[in-house]
């Protein structure tokens, strides 16, 4: 059988990575003092599956390493070993290493690391410690046995081949196996005929049903096996191979293996019967003759109380519940016995071939063997060939695996979607097709009367409903619960708090809140940064906390929820809060603000988002608050999101991120400037209003501001930025939209507000080029292209940024 195992690799990788995630989260939640058995089971199962799969699919490095984990976990599961903090730590490290290994395999490269060796050594050291020394010895023994068995397998194969070449069986051993099955053997689905068939493949074979205390019809219980056999077998196979045949039942049976002196005459009698039955195809006359002979012999033997007949017949007897053994003995000659089926012949070519060499005198046999050899050559599935090519096959498989991996890594970005979401999608498409058919019918009419016009309108309405629902369904496919992003934090917190000696409790709220996959991918890094900061700089050391009357255990909360068309993510810590004084001092030093500036604490705190701003005295390997905060902010802004920071000295810090649910679709406000239409993201808009001339003030540097409710809001005349001819040149003639620009407000001057609608975002950079002030484009219902305004970059374009000019 030529099966390319590499086709399962990708599934195995995905599954293993999932298993590792499960292991990790279970390990992080584990309570060493009060061990949850189900949790250990879950971890064990994950390791166990990875080991089984990796061994099967040929990833030996993974298999060998997971074997160590599995052994340790098995001991713990069975209560033979106490789980320690060290174990948890080792297992967590293993998760990392295994992830790296699988990543390497997915990229068709090899994983190499000293960490693997040292961790493996650590596992072995742990495993070597009592109480499992005995067990590991057993394991070792089992392994050796296994490899020995494999060796004998290969030896066996080569001997077989040799025997074929030499056409001599001088090395074969004559075995006599006495097989007394336990009475319950049938009740576990074992059938002696399986074993006989298998033995038959090993060499020349003869079976005899022993004298048995047959219960008679009245007491006969078909579920009880009351037969026993003596099998004579001439074979090259070692004893281990013979025992393997009975491996499944050895404990329930009495099995004696005896070696007999070779006796050609005896052998001729024993082994003459069996081939006679298979020979019929080649030489019918001779076969019939032999069969007749066999029948006579058998019935003779039976009068002595010993039945001597074909095994299949014996089994057939037992299962036919026939109390008249003798009467049905003649049936043995009937071609219905399984051994006469072509498949039986095919499955034992080696046995037949060997017979050819040992009984060269028998012409019919030779002819038969010649025939069989041809069949063997055709039948690639036969077991003998399969074993002998095992090695080659394994090599082929591993090369094939590599190829497949290269193939799949090209399209590595996949998404797992719940079947219900796909079903919903298919439903919607079905509805759409029905509507289309209905509209199509109307379209075929030459004239349209009023009734049909009504139908047409209804159809179009349905079409738009279905389209919207379909769109929603499609969007849902890309939506994943934010737990995908949150899941990495327990581990992060575990590692960092250990490194820093801090105690932290991580709390999640709203993990099930869904977010678009692309947004999720881009938000993870900023979140990691923020959580790490909260732990590194926010949460104080336990003794400091105690001194302040707080509990030693700090809390970091990650909250997610939907608000409008956006998702809000909050990172809240109950640590020290920002050091506003220090931030101010640094800002002054960097001349971001001047000493005379009168700023609220909140305003000062926002300065940590300024590029290159840092409050850390030394840059540790964990980033300082401020290092990279500008990058965090930029990443979020690039996602059309906003970030907000609130800090209270000694109470903690709260960071709020506001993100659009998806990057593919946007709720937009269409606005007109002259003959051009632009889209402004709805989330950015605070309000739109008509201003009066006296609300507009001129500041230095040509900066106009709108005076609105105690606030001065800088104004951007969009037509100036984009060089359009507007209807309204003055703010009071048009409409001013107050929009959000990095938590500061900006007024945009437009001519007219049009409709609000969802627009599909098309990337301008991919299709054209990046344009300042614009984040993308969309296609409107009439087919025209409208640009989507990026408020932040537009404000920058107009010379409004987060700097002291603006703060002043």
């Amino acid at each position: 059988m030529d099966i390319d195992l590499s086709q399962f690799s990708q599934v195995f990788f995905e599954e293993s990575l999932e298993g590792l995630d499960i292991m990790e989260s279970e390990l992080l939640e584990i309570n060493i003092d009060n061990l949850n058995h189900e949790s250990i089971n879950t971890i064990f199962r994950a390791a166990h599956s990875i080991k089984g799969g990796s061994a099967t699919f040929g990833f030996n490095q993974v298999a060998n390493f997971t074997h160590l984990l599995e052994t340790l976990l098995d001991d713990i599961r069975d209560g033979k070993r106490q789980l320690s903090a060290l174990h948890v730590d080792m297992l967590l490290q293993s998760v990392d290493i295994l992830r790296a290994m699988i990543d390497a395999l997915m990229n068709d490269s090899e994983y190499q690391s000293e960490q693997l060796q040292s961790l493996s050594a650590q596992f072995e050291q742990q495993l070597a410690q009592q109480p499992t020394s005995e067990q590991s010895e057993q394991l070792l023994e089992a392994n050796t046995q296994e490899s020995e068995a494999q060796e004998t397998n290969t030896q066996e194969t080569s001997t077989e081949e040799k025997a074929q070449l030499d056409a001599a069986d001088t090395q074969a051993t004559l075995w006599q196996i006495r097989f007394v099955p336990g009475v319950d053997i049938l009740r576990c689905g074992n059938d002696p005929s399986y074993m006989f068939t298998e033995l038959q493949q090993l060499g020349k074979y003869h079976i005899k049903l022993n004298d048995v205390s047959y219960p008679g019809f009245d007491d006969f219980d078909p579920e009880v096996c009351s037969l026993q056999w003596t099998i004579t077998l001439l074979t090259d196979s070692p004893l281990d191979r013979l025992k393997e045949v009975f491996e499944w039942v050895e404990d329930e049976c009495q099995l004696d293996y005896l070696t007999l002196e070779r006796n050609p005459e005896q052998e001729a009698t024993w082994f003459s019967q069996q081939p006679s039955q298979t020979a019929e195809a080649n030489n019918n006359d001779q076969a019939t003759e032999q069969l007749d002979l066999g029948a006579t012999e058998t019935s003779n033997a039976n009068t002595d109380g010993i039945a001597e007949f074909d095994f299949s017949q014996a089994v057939a007897e037992a299962f036919n519940f026939d109390d008249e053994i003798t009467s049905s003995l003649n049936d043995a000659i009937e071609p219905s016995a399984p051994i006469k089926e072509p498949s039986a012949k095919l499955s034992k070519p080696s046995a037949q071939q060997e017979q050819a060499s040992t009984a060269p005198a028998n012409n019919s046999l030779l002819a038969e063997v010649a025939d069989l050899t041809v069949i063997q050559a055709i039948d690639a599935d036969n077991p003998t060939q399969a074993t002998s090519t095992n090695d080659g096959a394994a090599k082929q498989t591993s090369t094939a695996t590599k190829q497949a991996v290269t193939k799949t890594s090209e399209s590595s970005s996949t998404i797992r979607v719940g079947i219900n979401k796909v079903d919903q999608l298919i439903n919607m498409v079905g509805e759409l097709i029905i509507t289309q058919a209905m509209l199509g019918q109307i379209g075929q009419q030459e004239t349209i009367d009023d009734d049909m016009m009504l139908d047409l309108r209804m159809g179009l309405e349905q079409l738009s409903n279905h389209t919207r629902e379909l769109q929603e369904s499609v969007m849902k496919i890309r939506m994943l619960p934010i737990s995908f992003a949150f899941n990495r934090f327990p581990r992060l917190i575990h590692d960092i708090s250990k490194q820093l000696g801090k105690k932290v409790d991580l709390v999640f709220n709203g993990e099930e809140t869904e977010l678009d996959k692309t947004v999720m991918e881009k938000i993870v890094d900023p979140l990691v940064h923020l959580v790490r900061n909260a732990l590194d700089h926010g949460i104080e050391m336990p003794e400091v906390r105690r001194a302040q009357g707080k509990s030693e255990m700090g809390t970091i909360s990650l909250n997610a929820y939907h608000r409008g068309g956006a998702i809000i993510i909050e990172i809240i810590d109950d640590g020290a809060g920002l050091n506003t004084k220090k931030i101010r001092a640094i800002a002054e030093q960097k001349q971001l603000i001047s000493a005379s500036d009168n700023l609220a604490d909140d305003e000062i705190n926002q300065l940590i988002f300024h590029p290159g701003f840092t409050t850390a005295d030394e840059v540790s390997d964990l980033s300082g608050r401020g290092v990279g905060m500008d990058v965090v902010k930029r990443n979020i802004t690039d996602l059309n999101g906003t970030i907000n920071l609130q800090s209270q000295s000694g109470q903690g810090c709260k960071i709020t991120i506001n993100l659009p649910l998806t990057l593919a679709i946007l709720d937009g406000q269409l606005v007109r400037i002259g003959e051009h239409i632009y889209v402004v993201p709805l989330v950015a808009i605070h309000e739109s209003l008509q201003v009066t001339a006296n609300q507009v003030n001129q500041l230095g540097n040509n900066q106009e501001v709108i005076h609105l409710r105690e606030e001065f809001i800088p104004l951007v005349r969009i037509y100036q930025q984009f060089n359009h001819a507007p209807d309204a040149k003055q703010p009071q003639d048009g409409i001013v939209m107050i929009v959000d620009n990095n938590d500061k407000k900006v007024g945009l001057l437009v001519d007219e507000l049009l409709s609000q609608q969802q627009v599909v975002i098309k990337n301008l950079e991919d299709n054209y080029t990046k344009i300042a002030g614009v984040s993308g484009a969309t296609i409107l219902g009439d087919g025209t292209v409208a640009l989507i305004i990026d408020v932040n970059s537009l404000a920058q374009l107009a010379g409004i940024g987060v700097n002291k000019d603006h703060a002043a």
Binding site: T56, F57, W248
Partner: protein, 120 residues
């Protein structure tokens, strides 16, 4: 056509077993845990069940016990697919009524040879 039920919580392993058996001309149904398997087995008559041992919801040993208790599966070969080849595990399986076992890792040929052994 002989019908086989393949039970494993690992998708890749299940796919491999199923694919191999299908290629050899068997009809194969799949289940991801013992409970799923039991429901399928009650609704259909399989000629062979090959089941993993370690599975969530219902493990393989329990599945074998449950199946063996059903009249329809009294004599049907039930094979354990396992990486655990310890004597205790085998004994546990046999006590539950398992016909035999296939030790992981195995290659498609070994799997087919074992299936043929019990299906004839």
């Amino acid at each position: 056509m002989k019908k086989i039920l393949a039970v494993d919580d690992s998708t890749s392993m299940r796919q491999m077993v199923s694919f191999t058996l299908k290629t050899a001309g068997y009809e194969v149904a799949e289940a991801a845990d013992g409970q799923e398997a039991l429901l399928l087995a009650k609704a259909n008559q399989f000629d062979l069940v090959i089941s993993d041992i370690n599975m969530p919801v219902m493990d393989g040993i329990t599945l074998i016990k449950e199946l063996r208790a059903l009249d329809a599966y009294k004599f049907v070969p039930l094979l354990m697919l396992t990486t655990e080849s310890s004597p205790e595990k085998k004994q546990e399986g046999r006590a539950a009524g398992a016909t035999g076992w296939i030790v992981k890792p195995f290659n498609p040929d070994q799997l087919l040879a074992t299936a043929r052994k019990v299906l004839g």
